[in-house]
């Protein structure tokens, strides 16, 4: 991001925008939003939401001048340690983000405010919890007015959650294509017929999609007198969405690596040795941000995180990421963020001018990356030559902890049983030579009771 101007993620809302100055993140509040902002702060809503961990805290930055004539105030919000997107979340992460949004709306209504948008992109995981990061999402509630964010809520949260729960968990990837959420007619078409027996899904998705089609060429003014939604009616609507979502579930089973650690060729002592090395090297290099690439359920991410680093644990398998997130929740871990990312096709930059949501790479580089038991998948299953792998890792991190898994390892033998071995360079020497072109190898440790080697390297 350029260090002066406006961030490309916040330009639609006329209430204000984000910008950075000398590396610090600020939010300008425009004059048109001054009354709503005053209500947020004076009603006690801000304090209650921040206390509940539902809203990002901020301080008013009186010393920073507004960036444009429309400006009224500048605030400095706490920065989320890592920005992630709904197409990178596991089922429970999206579900918690949805429930957090509804919980915020309920609390807001009690203090005569309402969410004017319900975008999944406004939620980030901060200290392990789904948190609203857009301080300008609130407006003064006028009783009678329908909830303008209802459609957006259904598209961003309910439709993908229903598809993940009732059709296939991988359908959250539709959010990568549809930046304003899954179109309801598409969701209605893809959902199994039995979802029409579920009152919430029948009404909020199927009938809702039908009504959108029917009224697509008609104009309805939300403040017309006949179109009133009383406070009770609004509460009923929010509670119905809440109940519908609370009942949606997904059980991670039978997917790629869900039970990987039970099926490895590792002995306990190899596993422990690897954990100790990761933790020792993280403590030594003191990275602020670590990416665990191919992190599975996050065992090694936790070793890195124990050094105090904020660790993002990426894996291709939604079941592993789901398990990882569940343990973040149950142990109340604050510095681990599990995300679903396919390293062979990581998140692209999407949206307006391809700049609204950052690509995977644009959110780096980081101080340290872990690539444990992953190189053989990339080099052999995915045919990426070693020099390109070395280039990839060097672009994304300063320190790299990487494990080389030789051809004689039973996991690699398995990968090669069904295909021709076209990888003559895939040897320890070939690996070291390819990676030496981009890195300085600081440490080389044979993993105890295994044929694997762990390296600590520094990008040059």
């Amino acid at each position: 991001m350029p260090d002066t101007g406006q961030l490309s993620a916040s330009f639609r809302d006329p209430s204000g925008f984000l910008f950075t100055d000398k590396g610090i993140l600020y939010r300008q509040i425009n004059r048109v939003y001054s009354k709503d902002y005053a209500r947020l702060m004076d009603s006690g809503l801000y304090e209650r939401l921040v206390k509940a961990g539902l809203l990002i805290p901020h301080v008013e930055a009186g010393h920073v001048s507004v960036k444009s004539d429309a400006g009224f105030k500048v605030i400095q919000p706490e920065r989320a340690p890592f920005i992630s997107y709904p197409y990178e979340w596991s089922f429970s992460q999206l579900k918690d983000a949805a429930l957090a949004t509804l919980s915020i709306q309920k609390r807001a209504l009690k203090l005569d405010m309402s969410l004017k948008d319900a975008s999944a992109y406004n939620i980030q995981f901060v200290r392990g919890r789904a948190t609203l990061i857009d301080t300008l999402s609130f407006e003064i509630y006028k009783e009678g007015r329908p909830w303008t964010a209802y459609k957006q809520f259904c598209q961003h949260f309910l439709a993908p959650l229903a598809l993940m729960s009732c059709s296939d968990v991988r359908l959250n990837q539709l959010l990568r294509v549809y930046i304003d959420g899954v179109p309801l007619d598409l969701a209605s078409e893809l959902l199994p017929a039995r979802t029409r027996l579920n009152f919430g899904l029948l009404t909020h998705i199927h009938i809702h999609a039908g009504a959108q089609k029917r009224y697509s060429d008609k104009t309805v003014k939300p403040q017309a007198n006949a179109l009133r939604v009383s406070r009770h009616a609004m509460t009923g609507l929010i509670e119905s969405l809440e109940n519908t979502i609370a009942k949606l579930s997904w059980k991670p089973a039978g997917t790629e690596w869900g039970d990987y650690y039970e099926n490895t060729n590792y002995t306990d002592s190899a596993f422990e040795h690897k954990k100790n090395l990761v933790s020792e090297w993280a403590l030594e290099k003191k990275p602020a941000l670590v990416w665990d690439l191919g992190g599975n359920t996050g065992v090694f991410s936790r070793e890195a995180a124990s050094s105090g680093a904020f660790t993002v644990s990426f894996d291709i398998d939604p079941a592993a990421v789901e398990q990882n997130y569940r343990s973040v929740k149950s142990k109340k871990e604050q510095n681990i963020l599990p995300l679903v990312v396919d390293l062979t096709n990581p998140s692209p930059s999407i949206g307006w001018d391809n700049r609204e949501r950052d690509s995977f790479g644009a959110r780096g580089p980081v101080d340290m990356a872990l690539a444990l038991a992953v190189i053989h998948h990339l080099a052999i299953s995915n045919n990426v030559p070693l020099p390109q792998l070395s280039q990839f890792f060097a672009a994304h991190c300063k320190w790299l902890v990487i494990e080389f898994v030789p051809k004689s390892d039973s996991q690699v033998v398995k990968l090669l049983t069904s295909r021709e071995d076209i990888f003559p360079e895939y040897t320890r020497e070939g690996f070291e030579s390819a990676f030496s072109a981009r890195f300085k190898i600081h440490k080389t440790e044979a993993v105890r009771d295994s044929e694997r080697t762990l390296y600590l390297m520094e990008a040059q």
Binding site: R12, D13, P14, S15, R48, K51, A52, G53, L54, D96, L99, A100, S103, K106, R107, K116, D117, R129, A130, K142, G144, R145, P146, W147, T148, A149, Y150, K151, Q152, C154, T203, H204, I207, H208, G210, A211, Q212, K213, R214, Y215, S216, K218, T219, V220, P222, Q223, A224, N225, L227, R228, V229, S230, H232, A233, M234, T235, G236, L237, E239, S240
Partner: protein, 58 residues
């Protein structure tokens, strides 16, 4: 008619209509629940604690 500024998001005509119909229906339940707890409190029952007030265990 009260004044309210137009929202910056297009709420969608069909979405507004279905929302109003649904909200009326669902609101009945909330209204009944509210009246029922008022009746109960007349007879000395304590209102249920509001789970949304202090924590977010979502």
């Amino acid at each position: 008619m009260h004044f309210a500024p137009l929202p910056y998001l297009d709420p969608g005509s069909g979405s507004i209509i279905i929302q109003i119909l649904l909200a009326v229906l669902l609101g009945l339940g909330v209204a009944l629940r509210a009246s029922w707890s008022r009746i109960k409190s007349l007879f000395g029952a304590k209102p249920k604690a509001d789970e949304d007030d202090d924590s977010n265990d979502a």
